[in-house]
C-alpha cells in the first residue's frame, strides 16, 4: 500500500506544478492533459469508477478516477488527430459506460466554415485501454448538420441519442423559408451502441444552438427538454416523452416566456425525473415576459408545469442549470458571475421538489470555466467542474434526507 501512495504522490507532483504555472499570466495550455481540458464530461460505471471524456488541443481524450477524483489514470486519446471538436460548453464530448462493460464516446466535429456538424462515435471493449476508429454515429443519405447531441443509456440498456439536425434545411430554403432553424432528431441502439437504428425527426423548428435536457422515467422512456421556436419566433422551452419507436408523445410548453429573438442563445435547459414520476426542468430566458433563470415541475407528465420559480441572484447572470434526481431527492445547480468570480450555486430538495433549500455556493473560480456538471454513482451526488486555474475537480454534494 505504501509504495502505491508514494507513486501517487510522485505522479501528483508534476500536476501540482502545472497548476501553479496556470496561475501565471496567459500561458496557453497546449498539452492533452486533463489540466488543459476545455470541456469535461463525467460518468460513473457500475463498479463506481468515474470516467471522464474531455477535449484538449482539438483531440477527444478519456481518463478515469478510481478514488473519487483524487487521482486520474494517464489519459488515452480517442480521436486520432486534432480537429474542430464542438466544445463550447453547451456542446461537449460525452462518455457512456454501458451495462455490458464497454465504453461509448460521442462528440461532434464542425466540418466546415458554416459550422455544419458531424457526430462521431467510438467504443472501447478493453476497459478504455484502446478505442475503435471514430465512425459516424448516424448514417443519413444526405448528411447536412448534426450538433448538440445528448447521449445516454436507459435503465433497460437501450442507448438513446437525441440531437439538433438540419436535414430539412435544404428543402425549407428551396421553398423560400429563410427562417428555418433545425429539427430534433432521435436514434437508438439495442446492441450496446455498436449500431444505431435509422434516425428520425421527432419534432421540427427547434432552436439550433442549445443543448437538449435528457432524463429517463420509471419505464425507461426518455423525457426531453429543449428550446423550441413557438409561433413566429418565440424561443421558449418544450418538454416531451419519446415512445419506444423514437416518436414524441406530445410537445408541452414548459412556460410562456415569449422571448422573441433572432439569435443563438447558446443556453439549453435541464431535465430530471424523480422516483414519483414528476418532471423537473430549469431553463434560461433572455427576455420577453420573463428574464432570468427559472425552475418548474410537472406532476402530470408534462401536461402542466407549475408557476416558474426564479433562481439565483439576477445581478450575477445566473445560468446553465443542471438537475439530478436520486429517488425523491433532487439537486439543482447553476453558475453565477459577479464580474470577477464564477460560482457554482446549488439548491437541494428531499421531497420531490415540494420544498427547496436556500441556495448555497459549492465552488468558485477567478478565470475561465467550463459549465458545471452533475454526476451520481447511484449513492452520492458530485459536482464535476473544469476550470482554467484549478484544472478538473470533483466535489461531493450532500443531498440530505434518507437514501
Amino acid at each position: 500500500m505504501k509504495p502505491l501512495i508514494l507513486a501517487l504522490l510522485l505522479l501528483a507532483g508534476p500536476a501540482l506544478a502545472q497548476q501553479h504555472q496556470h496561475a501565471a499570466p496567459a500561458v496557453e495550455c497546449a498539452s492533452l492533459a486533463l489540466s488543459c481540458a476545455t470541456a469535461t464530461t463525467p460518468a460513473f460505471d457500475r463498479a463506481g469508477r468515474l470516467w471522464l471524456a474531455y477535449s484538449a488541443g482539438g483531440r477527444v481524450m478519456v481518463t478515469r478516477s478510481d478514488d473519487l477524483g483524487r487521482t486520474t489514470i494517464p489519459p488515452v486519446a480517442v480521436s486520432p488527430e486534432a480537429a474542430a471538436v464542438d466544445d463550447n460548453g453547451e456542446a461537449r464530448p460525452k462518455i457512456v459506460p454501458t451495462r455490458a462493460g464497454h465504453l461509448l464516446v460521442a462528440w461532434t466535429i464542425r466540418r466546415d466554415r458554416a459550422y455544419n456538424g458531424t457526430q462521431l462515435l467510438a467504443h472501447s471493449l478493453d476497459d478504455g485501454r484502446s478505442f475503435s476508429a471514430p465512425r459516424r454515429m448516424v448514417l443519413e443519405e444526405t448528411p447536412t448538420s448534426q450538433r448538440f447531441e445528448s447521449f445516454a443509456e436507459a435503465p433497460d440498456g437501450r442507448i438513446w441519442a437525441v440531437w439538433l439536425d438540419k436535414r430539412r434545411a435544404p428543402t425549407e430554403r428551396a421553398a423560400g423559408n429563410r427562417g428555418y432553424t433545425a429539427g430534433l432528431a432521435v436514434a437508438f441502439s439495442d446492441n450496446g451502441g455498436m449500431t444505431f437504428q435509422q434516425s428520425r425527426l421527432a419534432n421540427d423548428n427547434t432552436c439550433e444552438c442549445c443543448r437538449i435536457g435528457l432524463a429517463f422515467d420509471q419505464r425507461a422512456n426518455p423525457v426531453l427538454a429543449w428550446r423550441q421556436v413557438f409561433g413566429r419566433n418565440f424561443r421558449d422551452h418544450a418538454a416531451g416523452r419519446l415512445r419506444r419507436d423514437g416518436t414524441l408523445e406530445a410537445v408541452h410548453r414548459i412556460a410562456q416566456d415569449n422571448w422573441a429573438i433572432d439569435a443563438c442563445p447558446h443556453h439549453g435547459p435541464a431535465m430530471a425525473v424523480d422516483a414519483s414520476g414528476r418532471w423537473h426542468s430549469a431553463w434560461y430566458s433572455g427576455g420577453g415576459d420573463h428574464q432570468g433563470l427559472f425552475y418548474a415541475a410537472s406532476a402530470d407528465e408534462g401536461r402542466h408545469f407549475g408557476t416558474p420559480r426564479r433562481l439565483g441572484n439576477p445581478a450575477r447572470q445566473p445560468g446553465h442549470p443542471q438537475l439530478l434526481a436520486m429517488g425523491e431527492r433532487l439537486l439543482l445547480i447553476w453558475q453565477e458571475f459577479d464580474g470577477e468570480r464564477m460560482r457554482v450555486m446549488a439548491e437541494t430538495s428531499t421531497d420531490g421538489g415540494a420544498h427547496w433549500s436556500a441556495a448555497r455556493e459549492l465552488a468558485a473560480t477567478a478565470d475561465a470555466a467550463d459549465q458545471p456538471q452533475l454526476v451520481s454513482n447511484g449513492r452520492d451526488a458530485f459536482l464535476s467542474w473544469q476550470t482554467r486555474l484549478e484544472g478538473w475537480r470533483l466535489l461531493p454534494v450532500p443531498l440530505g434526507g434518507g437514501a
Partner: protein, 156 residues
C-alpha cells in the same frame, strides 16, 4: 460639424485590411471614451452564430451609407479561431472595417464589462449615443431601427 465628420472619417479608416485588434479588459470602456461626442456602434459576432454570418455583409453597406458612423466589429470566438475569423471577414467583405476579437479566454468577464446582463447571446449590437448612453440590442439589428437611431443622434 464638418470637422467632426472629417475626424470621424479619418478615425474610421483601417490601418490595414483584415487586421484583428485585441478586445480585452477595459476595451469596451476605451472604445466609448475614444468615441466621446460621436455615435458609436459596436457589433459582436461569432463564427458559430448563423444569424451573425447572415448579417455580416450588411455592415459594409451600412458603413458606406453612413461614413460618419463609428462602427466596430468584435468577434467573440476563442483566440485559436483567429485564422478562420480573418478568412470569414474577407469573405463577407468587412475586412476593411475596424475589427477586434476577444483576446481573453475568460470571455464571460469581457461580456460582463459590456453589459452585466449579457449571457452571450449573439448577434448583439451596442448603440452608444453621443451622451454615452448605451443600448444593447440582442439578435439581428434591423436596418430601419439603426437608421432611426442614427438620425436621432445627428439631431441631438
Amino acid at each position: 460639424m464638418i470637422r467632426a465628420v472629417l475626424l470621424a472619417l479619418l478615425l474610421a479608416l483601417p490601418a490595414q485590411a483584415a487586421e484583428l485588434a485585441p478586445f480585452g479588459r477595459g476595451s469596451f470602456a476605451a472604445l466609448k471614451a475614444e468615441a466621446a461626442g460621436a455615435p458609436l456602434v459596436v457589433h459582436f459576432w461569432a463564427l458559430s452564430c448563423a444569424p451573425c454570418l447572415a448579417e455580416l455583409p450588411g455592415w459594409a453597406r451600412l458603413a458606406r451609407a453612413h461614413p460618419g458612423m463609428r462602427l466596430v466589429l468584435v468577434n467573440t470566438d476563442p483566440p485559436e479561431a483567429e485564422p478562420q475569423v480573418k478568412r470569414m471577414l474577407d469573405r463577407m467583405g468587412v475586412a476593411r472595417l475596424r475589427n477586434l476579437a476577444f483576446a481573453d479566454r475568460f470571455a464571460v468577464r469581457l461580456r460582463f464589462e459590456v453589459d452585466p446582463a449579457w449571457q452571450g447571446e449573439l448577434p448583439r449590437t451596442d448603440l452608444v449615443g453621443a451622451d454615452g448612453a448605451t443600448r444593447g440590442v440582442l439578435g439581428m439589428l434591423h436596418r430601419p431601427e439603426l437608421e432611426r437611431w442614427l438620425k436621432a443622434q445627428s439631431g441631438s
